[in-house]
Symmetry: C2
Subunit: 337 residues, 2 copies
């Protein structure tokens, strides 16, 4: 008897658990620092910031910063501030994204903009971005500052690209990859590169950590895109369909559009380009995606990038840090919620 | 015969002209750099950025960075990038402000958000902020990075404070000053401090330049506030009344509220707190402001901060740079458009 669990799905929580266990005491210090650095005499700032920061994000990006610092044997203090800076950059992006997408929900709670307005989301995002840079400056590594400020521009470029591509069902897989290399993968890559940069690791090691992060970030985003249509098991109770409502062209849709009939393409045009959404639209969309294997194919693509991330770490000797970072790839490519 | 021109109004354009002449070749390089650093493969980014950057701003902040670098005898190259970074920070703030204030116009043109949407304004602002930090990193001075990243958080704090104070006519002069110390003066102060920081000037000289910038920034904002109600000669043809429409509490209003009758305070409550604005509201507001000398008093306050800015420079020997920076104070406190 027993349930058959595909290899890839096994222990998907172990993945992130190994990472958390590896850097547990560091992560607690990062969380303390995050809390203290959202502080301001202007009371609205910690309110808005903590609404999002304390809403149960996985802290995946700062975990990666801490783990990759451990991977290269860093023994200083700078990685704590850099990990907090990475999380602040991520939070700032989310606050601004919610305004850009007019999102109502974020992590199962009302988005900050629904409670404090778009104005506060924009400005508190700016504050967190400023604090992120202040923390990097305190660490004092110009190469880390270079890596993270470059990431900040590339993230914004990716987001603008997405804006331009939105509501255009002719978007190609390559164009879409360029978007997510910017909006998602750039920060994952930077998060993984700053530890080695701080230690002064070899160029090869820095490039390896960067490649690990970038490809893990792409995989993460692709799985997110699949989950927004309910993943392999639609209707898990999770709120799905945000991307459809926002007219976002993601990889599952790109597959379904290419593989679909003319009539199906009319549906995608009406729904994503013209924004004509009714009660049945999401169900129809999920049916079409499943008919063309678009969700499975998206997961397959995610595993491809996950494999590149794994291989990137090959030049490091085996050990706890490497093992936890490899497990994190499995977590990312097989998470179902 | 001849027209009698008050001392303060004389040669108000000479002020900025002296500054421009002082650093003319440097400013051309800054403008070149600004142009090249708005570049991106994502075409929308230079479009949105240049719409605002090329719209005839005075480049006052980068001019101050160049002038204060000259004041302390800086002979390197870093001030060019820092001046461009300062202008990018300013531009990012304007793009985000337009979203926050839902402004339709900026510098006599349609605001970027009216042409490309709020989304693009938020994201291109983020891009410019990232580029600003990249340029600072290229200069490689951690003290400059410290000064400018701190300014970024303080600016955001000031903006959030303004958001909280908006629509509250009980705001005091002190509370208002705290807002503009953040939203306006912090960047002026940083713009003037980075040159001396780059040279490694004495603490006293750095503090003097910082104080000059901060107080000049306060004066600049107060004059702006007065001009938004038409200045001393209302109805100059300039678009006035934005602050009234947006429910912004500025110093002229604070004076008029304090000095007014109960009936007048009802008017301010209706207009600024409840947003009940009709065709006569602006005229009534200007009448009340003039009746209580609120515009003149605001100019007087501006001259007070201008005087502090002037005195801050006393410890520097006389010379072209100092003279141009002193003239800039007259320009700021007496500009009438």
């Amino acid at each position: 008897m027993g349930l058959v669990i595909p290899l890839d799905e096994r222990g998907r929580d172990d993945g992130i658990d190994a990472l958390s266990a590896l850097v547990q005491s560091d992560l607690e210090r990062v969380n303390q620092l995050i809390l203290s650095r959202t502080g301001s005499d202007v009371q609205m700032i910690p309110e808005v910031a903590n609404h999002l920061i304390s809403s149960g994000g996985k802290r995946l990006r700062p975990l990666l910063t801490l783990a990759s610092a451990k991977l290269v044997g860093y023994s200083g203090e700078g990685h704590i501030r850099l990990a907090a800076a990475v999380e602040f950059m991520h939070t700032a992006t989310l606050l601004h994204d919610d305004v850009v997408d007019a999102s109502e929900m974020r992590r199962g709670k009302l988005a900050a903009r629904m409670l404090w307005g778009n104005e506060a989301s924009v400005l508190v995002g700016d504050f967190l971005l400023g604090q992120a840079f202040k923390m990097m400056v305190e660490v004092g590594s110009l190469s880390c500052l270079d890596i993270l400020s470059t990431a900040a521009t590339v993230i914004a470029e990716g987001e603008v690209m997405q804006l331009v591509a939105a509501k255009n069902i002719a978007t190609t897989e390559d164009e879409y990859l360029a978007v997510i290399r910017g909006k998602t993968a750039a920060l994952f890559a930077a998060a993984c590169e700053v530890g080695p940069a701080l230690v002064g690791s070899s160029k090869a090691e820095q490039a390896a950590c960067r490649s690990y992060g970038a490809n893990l970030g792409i995989a993460f985003q692709l799985v997110d895109d699949a989950l927004d249509y309910g993943g392999r098991e639609a209707k898990l109770g999770k709120k799905v369909g945000d991307d459809l409502r926002e007219g976002k062209i993601t990889l599952p849709v790109i597959f379904a559009v290419r593989r679909g009939t003319n009539g199906e393409r009319e549906f995608w045009k009406r729904t994503l380009e013209a924004g004509e959404i009714d009660d049945d639209s999401l169900e129809t969309a999920i049916d079409l995606l499943q008919r063309h294997g678009a969700i499975d194919e998206t997961f397959a693509r995610a595993r491809h990038y996950g494999a590149i991330a794994r291989d990137a770490l090959a030049l490091f000797p085996d050990g706890q840090a490497k093992s936890a970072m490899l497990d994190a790839v499995s977590f990312v490519t097989s998470r179902a919620h």
